[in-house]
Amino acid sequence: MKNTIRWVISLVFLSISMTALWSQQNTGGLKVGDTAPDFSLKSVSGKTITLKELKNVKGYIVAFTCNTCPYAQMYEDRLIQLHKQLSPVGWPVIAINANDPTVTPGDSFAKMKERSDEKKYPFEYLIDEGQKVFPVYGAVRTPHIFLLDKDFKVRYIGAIDDNAEDPTSITNRYVENAIQAIEKGKDPDPNFTKAIGCTIKVKK
């Protein structure tokens, strides 16, 4: 009888801790202040990109994006502009397509290469093969920016700026302002923003 009770109690505890672990993983993803894990992903340039192997950087503008989302497309030129402007001073854009091409065929590696050639992407455009990186980062939409400093510390998460529809009506260039703040030794404010976007398409 005592043994049974002990069993039941340990089972209950086990299930509670399992549930806690599971829910933690589910609400997971990086928060501002966390240290981001590095990754090695294939780029349309033919290289395999690992963040720590990039030279002369002060930080990384990691951008989860894709070919097919109209919101991502609206930010495409702005992403190119960001890289052109900030990569020379040590802040390159690292674009990652996390969509599963079996769900959105327009996001296949071949199509990524096509788009990148067409628009002459100045930045590396990586594919999250097997969809292993985006859940760890906690990317949920496209476009979704994770700004990391040189120590991989997450300094800002969110949108590129505050007006997707009309670039001429932007009142806050979140990413640029965040980088300026970091350069001055300050914390970005805001360090987290929300915006409309497409969901990341997960393999069914």
Binding site: Y71, D162, A195, I196, T199
Partner: protein
């Protein structure tokens, strides 16, 4: 006297027309959305203190999974007649796409669910007010009655999934 039969036919015709109009008015198809430039105009609809269940879907014509799940909300609209449930589709298509994309889309589709066009670009301000757990990705659906709320980010893949979430609130 010969006028009467003709006249009778005329009245029958007239009544027929009126009847048809009334009937079509009842199953009125949505072609013109109600446009809200400011989130503040929509906010009360997301916070009514009544015993009605509100099912509010955020979508856009450019969002493929959103368009794919629209028939589920239509089906819900048709099944809830007589119940205290209201279904609303909130389009977040851009203001500049209202005439060129949203209206033509609605004209082509034969939706019976009311459509609101929210064109407030201050997303950073209003996403949290819809639900603090919303990342901003669409589709997203808010289902609530009074203080009881459910928020689903991502699409419903079948009608049962949508119905179950509504029933969770309904306590059925």
């Amino acid at each position: 006297m010969r006028i009467y039969p003709n006249s009778l036919r005329f009245w029958a015709f007239l009544f027929g027309i009126v009847g048809a109009c009334t009937l079509s008015a009842q199953t009125k198809l949505v072609t013109n959305p109600v446009v809200y430039d400011n989130f503040e105009a929509l906010e009360p609809v997301l916070n009514r203190q009544t015993d009605t269940i509100y099912v509010i879907n955020f979508w856009a014509t450019w969002c493929a999974p959103c368009v794919a799940e629209l028939p589920l909300f239509e089906q819900l609209s048709q099944q809830i007649q007589g119940k205290k449930i209201k279904v609303l589709l909130v389009s977040i298509d851009f203001k500049r796409d209202l005439e060129t994309k949203l209206k033509p889309f609605l004209a082509k589709r034969t939706l019976q669910t009311p459509v609101i066009s929210l064109t407030d670009s201050r997303q950073q301000l209003w996403i949290d007010k819809v639900d603090p757990n919303w990342s901003g990705a669409i589709p997203a659906t808010l289902i609530y009655r009074n203080q009881e709320r459910r928020f689903v980010e991502g699409e419903f893949t079948n009608f049962e999934a949508l119905e179950n979430t509504v029933n969770e609130i309904g306590g059925q």
